[in-house]
Symmetry: C3
Subunit: 144 residues, 3 copies
C-alpha cells in the first residue's frame, strides 16, 4: 500500500532567488530560514549552468549530466521534507537551451540567472526520508 501522509495548507511564499546563487542550496536554506519542514515547490526561470542526475535503476547510483550553457527552467517540480532532521529539497527539472531543446532529470545543482519559486508550506506530521532497501534511495516512511 502506498504511503500517504495527510497534511494541510500552511503559508505560501513567492520567492525571487538571487542572481548567481546555487538553486538547490538556496531553496533549502529558504525553507530552513522560514521554518518550512514540509512543502510543495514549483519554479520557473533561467540558469547559467546546471547539473542534473539520472538514477541508474540497476546500478543504484546517480549519473551526472552536466549542462555547461545557459538554459531556461522549462519546469521545476519538487518537495520539501525532513531528512537527517533538517528540511531537504528533492526537485526534478526540465531545462531548455537556445534552440528550445530540452534535457531533464533530478536537479543536482544550478547557478541562478533568475528564478521564481512558489513554495506551499504543508502543516502536520512531516514524512521523513529513510533508506529504502529496494531502490537504495531515501524515500518517505511513516513518521514515528
Amino acid at each position: 500500500m502506498s504511503l500517504v501522509q495527510e497534511l494541510r495548507s500552511g503559508r505560501c511564499f513567492l520567492c525571487s532567488l538571487d542572481h548567481d546563487s546555487e538553486i538547490v542550496t538556496t531553496i533549502t536554506n529558504l525553507a530552513e530560514r522560514l521554518g518550512v519542514e514540509v512543502g510543495a515547490v514549483t519554479a520557473i526561470g533561467a540558469l547559467k549552468r546546471a547539473e542534473i542526475g539520472y538514477y541508474d535503476q540497476e546500478a543504484h547510483e546517480y549519473r551526472a549530466i552536466e549542462i555547461e550553457r545557459p538554459v531556461e527552467i522549462s519546469s521545476l517540480i519538487g518537495n520539501i521534507s525532513i531528512r537527517d532532521a533538517k528540511p531537504f529539497l528533492h526537485a526534478h527539472a526540465t531545462l531548455a537551451d537556445s534552440e528550445g531543446n530540452v534535457r531533464g532529470g533530478h536537479l543536482a545543482r544550478g547557478t541562478v540567472f533568475a528564478a521564481e519559486v512558489y513554495l506551499q508550506e504543508l502543516c502536520g506530521r512531516p514524512p521523513r526520508r529513510r533508506h529504502d532497501p529496494t531502490t537504495d534511495l531515501f524515500l518517505w516512511s511513516e513518521t514515528d
Copy 2:
C-alpha cells in the same frame, strides 16, 4: 467564454507510491480511497517503463508512444475530476532517459520505480467530464 469552476483548498497529501505499481491506476485509486473528487496533482520520481500518448488533433485519436526503458519523471502535472461518476486522473508527463533526453505527452501508463506525489484536494462543486464534440475529448462542462 472559458469554463471556470471556483473551488477551495481541502486536504493535502504527500504520497510515496509502491515500487512496481502502475502510476495512473495507483493515483486514481488513492483519490478514490481518500474521497478526493477534485484535485491538483504534481509528481516526480522514476519509472521502469511508460507509455505516453499524443492526441492527433485532425484524426481525433491518441497515438501511443512506448518508452521501454527506465526514465526519470522530469515533471508530472495533472488533475482529478469526475468522469462517469468516479474520480478520474488526467496527467501529462515529461520523462528523461539516461542521457537526460526527454519525451513528453499524455501519461497513459507507467511502472513505478519510485514516485512522490503531491495531491491537493479541491472542495466545492466538482467539474464533470463530458464528451466535447469539437475535440472528441472528455472536457469539463458545467455541473448540473
Copy 3:
C-alpha cells in the same frame, strides 16, 4: 538575500480554456476578470501551434522559437503577479510533438486546442515586477 513574499491560499479555480483562444491572453484575462492579483498556475492540454522564447543571458533579449505544429502541453508552470498595475502571467512550458519530442522555454503564445488550468489565488501584499538592471528582466521587488 532572495526576495520572499509571504502570502496565504485564496480561492482555487479549475478552468477549461476555449478552443482556438490564445493561451497567455486567456489566462491573463481570467485572472483579471476573477480579481486574482497573485497566484500560482499549472496547466496541461494541447496547442495547435505555439511560440516559446529563450532569453539570451548575454544579449539580454528573447529569441523566438516558433512551433508550427500541434503539440501536447507536457507541462506548464507559471505565476500571476502585478506588472504595470495589472495582473501579469509569467509561464514556462514544455511542448511535445507527435513523436513525443519536446521543446521548452518561456511561453510567449499558443493557440488552444484544449487546456486545463489550475489557478491557485494567493492573498496578501502582491509582489510587483520592476526592471532589474542585472538581467534586464522585470523581476519581483519589494512592495512599497
